[in-house]
Symmetry: C2
Subunit: 339 residues, 2 copies
C-alpha cells in the first residue's frame, strides 16, 4: 500500500517553510531566495512531486480538455485530423476527448451537451452530414465555450473554422483530365447539407469554364455518401447515351463505391471511365484500380491549425477582446496528387 502522493504542503512541512513559499519556489517566482528555491526543488525532485492536476483545474476553473466531435474515426481523413489536433493540443498541455457522431444529428447534439457539462474548455467540430440546424452549436456561445469547425463546416453565420479550399485542387484535377483529352467530365457530388458539396459544385463549374468546357446538368449527380446511393448515382451516369469519360467523385469512398459498380457493369476503370477523387486514402496503394488521382486535403494540418485557433480563443476566453473578435477562418490550399 503506497502512501499518498506528495503535495506542496508536505514539502513545506519537511522544510519548515510555508506552503506559499513552496508554491512560489516551484513557479520560479522572482521574490524567492535562491537558497530556498533550490532546497524546495531538490526535495520536490526527490519526492517525485507532481502538481495535482485536478486541484489546478479546479482553481483555474478550467479542465484543460478540448472536445472533438467528428463523424467517424474509421475514416482515415478524420483519424489523421485528430492526430494533428492531439499533437498540437499536447504541446499546450491540453487533452483531447473524442466524440463520434456517426453522422447522426441526434448523437451529435447529445455529445455537445455532454461535453458542455463536462466543462470542456473548447470544442472542435466536423459536423454530421445530416445536421441541418445548429442550435446546439449556437448554445455554446451562451456558455462562452469557444468553438472551431473544421473540414465539415455548417452553414452558419459568424463561425470560426478551418477548411481546405478546393479551388486549386479542382482546377488541377480538371486540367489533368483535359490534358488527357477528356471532354465529358462528370461530378458525383455529396449531400446538399454540406458546404463541401456546394464548394465542389462551384469549383467544378468554374474549372470547367476555365477549360472552355460547357457545364452539362446531366453530368452532375449526387449521393448521400452511402454505397447504395452512390451506386444509384453511378447508374444514372452510365445510362446516358453519351457516357462521361471521367468522373470526379465527392471523396475516395464515393469513388470506390462508384468504381465497384462500374466494374460490375463491365466498364474498364480508367480506360473507359477515369476517376479522380478527394482525400487520398492510403489504401489506394493496394488497389487494382484506384482513382487516377486524388485531391489532397491535408487533414493533419487542418487538425493542427484548428486546434491552434481554438486554443488561442481559449486563452483569451475571459478578456473583452474575445467577445469582440470577429469570426476567424483559415484555409489551406488543396493539391492534386496522382497515384
Amino acid at each position: 500500500m503506497d502512501k499518498k502522493l506528495p503535495t506542496i504542503k508536505e514539502i513545506a512541512k519537511r522544510l519548515n517553510i510555508s506552503i506559499s513559499t513552496v508554491s512560489r519556489a516551484l513557479h520560479d517566482h522572482h521574490s524567492i531566495g535562491l537558497r530556498t528555491k533550490m532546497r524546495v526543488r531538490q526535495l520536490a525532485e526527490e519526492l517525485n512531486y507532481e502538481p495535482n492536476k485536478t486541484a489546478i483545474n479546479f482553481k483555474q476553473g478550467k479542465t484543460f480538455i478540448i472536445g472533438v466531435i467528428l463523424p467517424n474515426l474509421s475514416e482515415s481523413f478524420f483519424s489523421s485530423a485528430i492526430s494533428g489536433i492531439e499533437d498540437f493540443a499536447n504541446t499546450q498541455n491540453y487533452n483531447v476527448v473524442l466524440g463520434q457522431s456517426h453522422d447522426d444529428k441526434e448523437r451529435e447534439i447529445s455529445i455537445v451537451k455532454a461535453m458542455k457539462n463536462q466543462r470542456v474548455d473548447g470544442m472542435l467540430v466536423s459536423v454530421a452530414k445530416n445536421t441541418t440546424s445548429y442550435e446546439h452549436f449556437a448554445m455554446l456561445r451562451k456558455y462562452n465555450i469557444p468553438l472551431v469547425f473544421f473540414d465539415r463546416i455548417p452553414d452558419m453565420a459568424n463561425i470560426n473554422y478551418v477548411a481546405c479550399k478546393l479551388e486549386n485542387g479542382m482546377q488541377q484535377a480538371i486540367q489533368y483530365l483535359v490534358r488527357k483529352k477528356h471532354k465529358h467530365i462528370a461530378l458525383i457530388n455529396g449531400p446538399e447539407t454540406l458546404v463541401a458539396t456546394r464548394e465542389r459544385l462551384d469549383c467544378y463549374i468554374a474549372a470547367l469554364k476555365n477549360s472552355n468546357i460547357e457545364t452539362d446538368e446531366k453530368y452532375i449527380v449526387s449521393t448521400d455518401l452511402t454505397a447504395e446511393k452512390t451506386h444509384e448515382a453511378m447508374k444514372k451516369l452510365i445510362a446516358l447515351e453519351q457516357k462521361p469519360t471521367a468522373i470526379i467523385a465527392f471523396n475516395d469512398y464515393v469513388a470506390l463505391d462508384a468504381i465497384q459498380l462500374a466494374k460490375k457493369e463491365k466498364i474498364k476503370i480508367n480506360k473507359e471511365i477515369s476517376f479522380v477523387s478527394f482525400a487520398n486514402l492510403p489504401i489506394c496503394n493496394y488497389m487494382e484500380n484506384p482513382p487516377l488521382a486524388s485531391v489532397e486535403q491535408f487533414p493533419y494540418q487542418q487538425g493542427q491549425k484548428a486546434a491552434e485557433m481554438l486554443l488561442k480563443m481559449v486563452g483569451t476566453r475571459n478578456s473583452v477582446s474575445a467577445q469582440e473578435t470577429v469570426a476567424m477562418n483559415y484555409t489551406i490550399d488543396s493539391k492534386l496528387e496522382t497515384h
Copy 2:
C-alpha cells in the same frame, strides 16, 4: 458578457437553505423532505445548474479520465478498439484521452509518463511492436494506477489483459485451406517481441498437426510488419522449389503487402497462392484480390471488455482487495470469416 455558472451555493442562497441541503437534494439523499427536494430541483432546472466537474474531480481525487495508448489510430483495428473503449467508458462517465505510440518505444514511455502526471485514473495499453522492456509500465504500480493491456500484450508477469485467442480462428483457417486441398501452407509471422507472434506460431503448428500435416521450417518466415520486410519474407517463400500454395499472414496489412509482391512476380492470387490473414480490414471489400478469409479478432469487443475491466479496478482502487487481486485476463475467441 454572461454571468458565472450557477453553483449550489447560489441555489442555497436564493432558497434560503444550506448548501449541504441543496447538495443532498440534488443527490436524492433519503433524508431530504420531498418539498425542499422539489424546490431545489426546480430552481436548479431553471438556472440550468450543472455540477462543476472540476470541483468534483478535485474533491474525489479523481480525474475520471482513462488513458489509452496504442500504436496507431490509422489502423482500423485500433480505431474500432477505441470506439469500444469510449462507448463503455462514457456509460460510466469516464473520458478517454488517447496517445499514439506510433510503434515507437520512446514515445510510448513519454506518453505513459505524461498520462501519469495528468493523473489519469487508469490506463489501457496496446504495446508498441518494438517495446521489449517494461519498466515504464511496472512503475505505474507504484503510483497505484490500474493498467490493463489489450491485444498487444507484453511478456510480463502478473498483468491484466484482454486478448483474442487465436486458437479457434487458426484451426478454422487451416481446416478451410485443407478442405481446399492445400498441403503446403506457409506462415508469414510478425516480430518476435510480440506475444501475438508466438501465439500464431503455436496455433499454426498445432492446427497443422491436427490436420496431419507436418510442419516445415522453411514455410515459416517473418516480418517486422514493414512493407519492405514483408516483401523480403515473401520472396523467400516464392523462391522455394516447392512454393507454398497457401499463406497465412500475420495480419491484413502483411497480407496486402505480400499480395502486392506476389502480383509483381506474376503470381495469380488465390489461384497459385491463396491468402488467409487476421483482422478483417473493411477495405478488403474494395479489393480485386483480397485474402480469401480473415480471422476476426473483435477489436470493438476487446476494447469494451478492457475498459470494463479497467473501470472495475479503478472503482476498487483504494480498497484492500484491489491490492490482493491476482492478475485478471479475459479472452475472446477468434473466428474465421470468408470474404
